[in-house]
């Protein structure tokens, strides 16, 4: 292996010494003068608080102050900061957190935390010149920083309110036994506002090999390699090139074992644009200067299909030979006699809706590094599912699962896409083959091209009701474009038929969902698994039905919603905990007000019209009719700490905090005694994947059981009854019952290998039953419910939509942490807004964050949340899942509001100005 000549890159630009000041300290670096400032800060100065989300000025995550002015560090040449003064997020706190940082924590303005540094830096510049900015001033100042988690409303509040947080942070720690229902600030919050949090790309070893991925530029192509050895050998600093031929195990992974079909590196055929075909590993500087244009690979393009209709057509070539008609799988639910019910219905409505690929657009592209630790392969990367990563990586690399260790870093958003492995087997392969650490951070472009998307859907449905306005039957059919590989396509095909009725009593029902392969990007898991798409179909038809019946749209929904004792379309009898009626009821005053305001506005305005829409959701928490266990281990250390092995990966949603709150109250000890161990597969038991709105419910229940079990052990040890209270006091535990107190010196007890003197481990697996051939059974143990109202204004001349307000009522059973619940609601709504109005991923065309648009801080209106708490008998402290529910009603509520305003339903989302105006003009032409 050759090395780079010192001081000079291979064929690039001569280095220069550049001196400047960062956060008050004088520094000097020797780099090529055109090196991006973001790279200089992160790689040379190890100031990794400055994040790289796009390298194009599209996301603002790398915002720093240069001489007091906010700039995107990814667009600033190192030479330009010679002699300048730079402030990064690491420089905002001086001894203690700045008022703005404190305000962010107290408002819950940071979720995953990846955009937080950019926001804090940009807001600091604003507050310097204007300590009490208005909402509009705040939005103007922060319009250049994208956030995908929070929905921005808490960020706006935190910035406007910063001046009131001059005196440190109130962590709002609750009293013992009162953690559930309180809103302590997130337990992992402080590093998110100081820049100390380590995400996937923030802790690369300095001597790690850098890895480049060679990807297919074609939708479908055969390929062969030339002389890779000669190519690599003639380039200084290149350690090796690796292809499918180098993979020691089974080159086939997938989140659902029986459907696994995806090679880590394509073998002879690439089935979608962006598929990985080879890896080049080398010294960092050599890789930065590596030109792949002469990489020895020969492509033969093959005819491709991008639309399900083409893929299903007779004679279409098969993307996977063993899947006829390019059908991955289908899901089916049937109950009663839907055809007869629709035939005899007093009114029926039919429609069709089409949706687009939606990109998760977390601000953290996939990143991580791998290294050998003796016999063990260690992978340190962002993820939503460490144990699944471990198993798939071990399979591809031909290792036993106990020889692979997954160490999750903080994860800068996931929303479903970081459930599938991405770079784990790739960096693992390089580390295995070279014996050196191997590091890789995807570019925004390759993250968008190569990772999963929300399934585009082509749906049609008919719904009928009787003259009294009771829904009597529904038939639904949907094609879901699942792209080139299976991923979570089967889950979407199965979940959609179970949920396409919405939370409404539908006695006669048939729903079919097809997952169809194309050469499009892989469609997988994205917040809601197809249910958001199906709900657009159902809820827009409900508005039409209410209109035909002459009923108020909210009344019509209340007339039909599920109640305790109702049976779902899968024949599951819901005995209790059904909160959709309460959600809709709680919207009533808002509905009346909104309708009256819209009517008043429309009476005096012609060029723009206001509209109000409502839609509901229900969503089963956890896997559909499949085992879905979580295990939680918690113990007391000899030094008197509660050690919680919190294996439910926190991707920003707050599981680190919520699971601890549940465990704390079950155990009867205060939050500040808890220390969290991460979801590292070598340390913590498997708490399952962060997916399917399952962590609060399933892992929460395991945490509750483990907490109670640990408490019982301690009480048994002290020989006291369940009425006793326990307290930790330094390295001792005191147990009090009545007037008697017993003190146990923990240091005298025998500790296990993990240093724990008391330890409990409990598993919870939700009770479900399989679905039969007609989709009848008990697919979920717990459902959550919600309903939202959208108020908006449509510019009739331009087709633009101005959102005025969203009112969201969600039945969460029990809000374990109300501020975090609000954060989930606002963030889900923001993603629903994006899906409804602007997000459309087109392979080959929108593979960046300026052609693919997600909402900015100016696109999310005020949100009023109504937390409904109808306890679930199964969930911990009555809690239900929430994460996905919150996004489901938003898009249909918006489409219904647009129709209310304009009289036209846009049948393809996103409802862009262009599509809305076309629909308006078409209607005018029909007159």
């Amino acid at each position: 292996m050759s090395t780079v000549r010192p001081g000079i890159t291979q064929s690039g630009i001569e280095r220069a010494d550049i001196a400047f000041e960062v956060n008050g300290a004088a520094v000097s670096v020797s780099v090529p003068p055109v090196r991006r400032l973001s790279q200089v800060l992160r790689d040379e100065l190890r100031l990794t608080g400055t994040k790289v989300g796009c390298d194009a000025g599209d996301c603002g995550a790398c915002t720093v102050l240069v001489d007091g002015n906010p700039v995107c560090a990814c667009l600033v040449p190192a030479a330009s900061v010679s002699g300048a003064t730079i402030t990064t997020v690491e420089g905002l706190a001086s001894g203690r957190l700045s008022a703005l940082q404190a305000s962010f924590l107290e408002h819950g303005a940071a979720q995953c935390g990846i955009c937080t540094p950019g926001l804090l830096v940009a807001a600091t510049a604003l507050l310097e010149r204007n300590p009490t900015p208005s909402e509009a001033e705040t939005q103007d100042a922060l319009g250049g920083v994208l956030c995908r988690c929070t929905g921005y409303r808490k960020i706006i509040a935190a910035v406007m309110d910063a001046s009131r947080h001059m005196y440190g942070v109130d962590h709002r720690l609750p009293e013992v036994g009162r953690a559930v229902g309180a809103s302590p600030i997130r337990l992992d919050g402080v590093p998110k506002v100081t820049g100390d949090e380590k995400f996937g790309g923030d802790s690369f070893p300095a001597d790690a090999l850098a890895v480049l991925v060679v990807r297919s530029p074609h939708y479908y192509a055969r390929f062969s390699f030339g002389d890779l050895t000669a190519w690599a050998g003639s380039r200084p600093g290149i350690a090796g090139v690796f292809t499918a031929a180098d993979i020691p195990g089974h080159n086939c992974f997938g989140v659902i074992g029986p459907f696994a079909d995806q090679p880590a590196l394509a073998d002879g055929f690439a089935r979608f644009r962006g598929e990985a075909v080879a890896l080049v590993a080398g010294e960092r500087e050599a890789i930065l200067d590596l030109d792949l244009t002469d990489f020895p690979i020969a492509w033969t393009e093959l005819p491709h299909v991008l639309q399900p209709c083409e893929a299903r057509a007779d004679g279409a070539s098969l993307i996977h030979q063993h899947r006829p008609a390019n059908l991955l799988t289908s899901g089916f639910v049937e109950r009663g006699d839907p055809d007869a019910a629709l035939g005899s219905a007093a009114v029926t409505v039919s429609g069709a809706i089409e949706t687009s690929f939606v990109e998760h657009a977390y601000i953290e592209p996939e990143a991580g590094f791998a290294y050998r630790d003796g016999e063990m392969l260690v992978i340190v990367a962002c993820t939503q599912a460490p144990y699944m990563d471990r198993d798939d990586t071990a399979k591809v690399l031909g290792l036993a699962v106990d020889k692979v260790r997954i160490v999750p870093t903080a994860t800068g958003g996931g929303f479903g896409s970081k459930l599938d492995v991405s770079l784990q087997p790739l960096i693992g392969l390089v580390a295995m083959k070279t014996g050196r650490a191997a590091a890789l951070a995807y570019t925004r472009n390759e993250s968008m091209m190569s990772t999963t998307k929300r399934h585009p859907a082509e749906m049609k449905a008919t719904i009928g009701a009787d003259a009294e306005g009771r829904v009597t039957g529904m038939v639904f059919e949907g094609d879901f474009n699942t792209g080139a590989y299976a991923s979570w396509g089967p889950t979407v095909a199965n979940r959609v038929p179970v949920h396409a009725s919405g939370p409404y009593l539908t006695p006669n029902y048939r729903a079919t969902g097809y997952a169809i392969h194309t050469n499009g990007p892989i469609a997988g898991a994205f917040r809601g698994f197809g249910v958001p798409q199906a709900t657009i179909m159902q809820e827009t038809l409900y508005d039409e039905l209410a209109g035909k019946l002459g009923m108020d749209r909210l009344d019509f929904r209340l007339n039909n919603c599920l109640r305790n004792g109702s049976e779902t379309v899968t024949g599951q009898r819901l005995e209790s905990g059904v909160g959709i009626g309460e959600c809709l009821e709680s919207l009533r005053p808002h509905w009346s007000r909104a309708l009256a305001e819209a009517e008043a506005f429309n009476a005096v305005n012609g060029a723009s019209k206001r509209g109000v829409g409502v839609a509901s959701c229900w969503y089963g928490c956890g896997n559909t009719s499949l085992p879905n266990p979580s295990t939680i281990k918690v113990g007391i250390s000899g030094s008197g700490e509660v050690i919680l092995h919190q294996g439910a990966v926190d991707i920003g949603q707050g599981s680190n905090t919520v699971i601890t709150q549940i465990c704390a109250d079950a155990l009867g000890l205060p939050l500040d005694k808890f220390r969290l161990e991460s979801a590292d597969t070598a340390i913590s038991p498997d708490a399952g994947k962060t997916s399917a709105s399952r962590q609060t419910f399933v892992t929460g229940k395991a945490a509750e059981k483990a907490g109670r079990s640990l408490r019982e052990q301690i009480l048994r040890f002290a020989n006291v009854s369940g009425n006793a209270t326990i307290a930790l006091d330094g390295p001792s535990i005191s147990i009090r019952e009545g007037d008697a107190t017993r003190r146990i010196d923990l240091s005298t007890l025998k500790a296990d290998a993990g240093g724990l003197v008391f330890v409990a481990e409990e598993t919870y697996d939700p009770p479900t039953q399989p679905l039969d051939a007609k989709g009848q059974g008990k697919p979920y143990a717990v459902y959550g419910y919600g309903a939202q109202i959208a108020e908006l204004e449509v510019d009739l001349k331009l087709g633009t939509v101005k959102l005025i307000k969203i009112t969201a009522a969600h039945d969460v059973g029990k809000a374990i942490n109300p501020v975090l619940v609000e954060g989930q609601i606002e963030g889900g709504i923001a993603q629903g807004i994006g899906m409804a109005l602007m997000e459309e991923y087109i392979p080959g065309r929108t593979e960046n964050l300026h052609d693919y648009l997600i909402p900015t801080i100016g696109d999310v209106p005020p949100i009023e949340h109504i937390l409904v708490e109808v306890p679930d008998p199964e969930g911990p402290f009555g809690a239900k899942g929430l994460g996905e529910h919150v996004l489901i009603p938003t898009a249909p509520a918006i489409l219904n509001a647009i129709r209310h305003a304009t009289g036209v339903l846009v049948t393809k989302v996103p409802a862009t100005p262009s599509r809305i105006l076309a629909a308006i003009r078409e209607k005018e032409a029909r007159r």
Binding site: S11, G12, I13, P32, P33, V34, D55, A56, G57, D58, G60, T63, N69, P70, V71, C72, C74, L75, V76, P77, A79, S80, A122, Q139, D140, A141, G143, G144, V145, L146, L288, D289, L290, D291, T443, N445, K797, L798, G799, T800, V801, K802, L837, M838, E840, I842, R845, T846, H850, D851, L853, P855, T856, G858, D859, T912, P913, S914, L917, R921
Partner: protein, 285 residues
């Protein structure tokens, strides 16, 4: 090895431009996104050391905007009302972070059909000053940008200033941007309008539309229709019925050609209304 140079005088820069082929690095906001993760293979002339090219100066005959003047500089510099449209456009170029470093000349040289700065400069009858070691020449902005990503820059030349004649720095102006979200958005279409009003009548009108043709265009038919009209809200109707044949919009991810054609006329009407103080200048979904 490739060359990198950061001259400190324009003469030095022009001498370098005369002796080799260079890619010019100015604000960097188009340079780096175009580079992506690829290695550098072109000689790079970093003009960020050319202090004399940054800033706005008023001379007898014209306003001179140095090539390296940033959009934030434009926003902050006191200028006559005729520049209000340019200032409004400046606030819509990317984000605050972009406006703090992106330069006016960079926006022109990048020659994107959706460059927010171009329509607002077209209605100011801006000229582009091009210099080489041999010569200085001036081109009307409309002759400088030749097409999508194409300009009239010759080898050895660089843009050194944008010049606005005093006679055109008259009247009131406005800029309307149409995008699919509120901030940080590539325009679906945008319009700039500058009206000179004399005694309640439109004495002169300059109208331009961007993102509806390969290069932003002035709308001669609309301008002609507006001249001589009384200044009332009915000016918008004049726009809506005026003849437009300069636009040839394409369909892309941001909107259909049909939509652009329709929307362009509508936002021109709004820009005219805004220029006479009757409307809002931001349209976002």
């Amino acid at each position: 090895m490739i060359r990198y140079a950061k001259p400190t005088t324009v003469d030095e820069a022009l001498a370098l431009l005369g002796e080799d082929r260079w890619r010019i690095l100015s604000g960097g906001t188009d340079f780096y996104p175009a580079q992506g993760a690829k290695p550098f293979r072109d000689n790079i002339l970093d003009v960020n050391g050319l202090v004399e090219l940054r800033g706005i100066a008023e001379a007898e005959e014209r306003w001179r905007i140095g090539a390296r003047t940033t959009w934030t500089d434009i926003v902050r510099h006191p200028l006559p009302a005729a520049f209000d449209g340019l200032k409004a456009a400046a606030r819509e170029v990317g984000s605050v972070q972009i406006q703090n470093v992106a330069t006016v000349a960079g926006n022109l040289c990048n020659a994107s059909p959706a460059a927010d700065g171009v329509p607002a400069l077209l209605v100011l009858d801006a000229d582009v000053e091009l210099r080489s070691a041999m010569a200085t020449r001036h081109l009307p902005l409309g002759d400088f940008i030749l097409g999508n990503r194409r300009t009239a820059l010759q080898p050895g030349e660089m843009v050194t200033a944008i010049l606005v004649p005093k006679r055109s720095a008259a009247g009131m102006s406005a800029f309307v941007k149409l995008g699919a979200r509120r901030y940080l958005v590539i325009s679906i279409a945008m319009a700039a309008a500058r009206l000179v009003v004399d005694d309640g009548v439109v004495a002169d009108a300059a109208i331009a539309v961007g993102a509806c043709s390969a290069v932003a265009r002035r709308l001669a038919g609309v301008e002609a229709a507006l001249r001589g009209q009384p200044v009332t809200a009915a000016l918008a109707d004049t726009v809506l019925s005026a003849h437009i044949d300069e636009l040839s919009p394409i369909a892309d991810v941001r909107g259909s050609a049909e939509y652009r054609k329709h929307a362009a006329r509508e936002i021109v009407a709004r820009a005219v209304r805004a220029a006479i103080g009757l409307g809002e200048s931001k349209v976002a979904a």
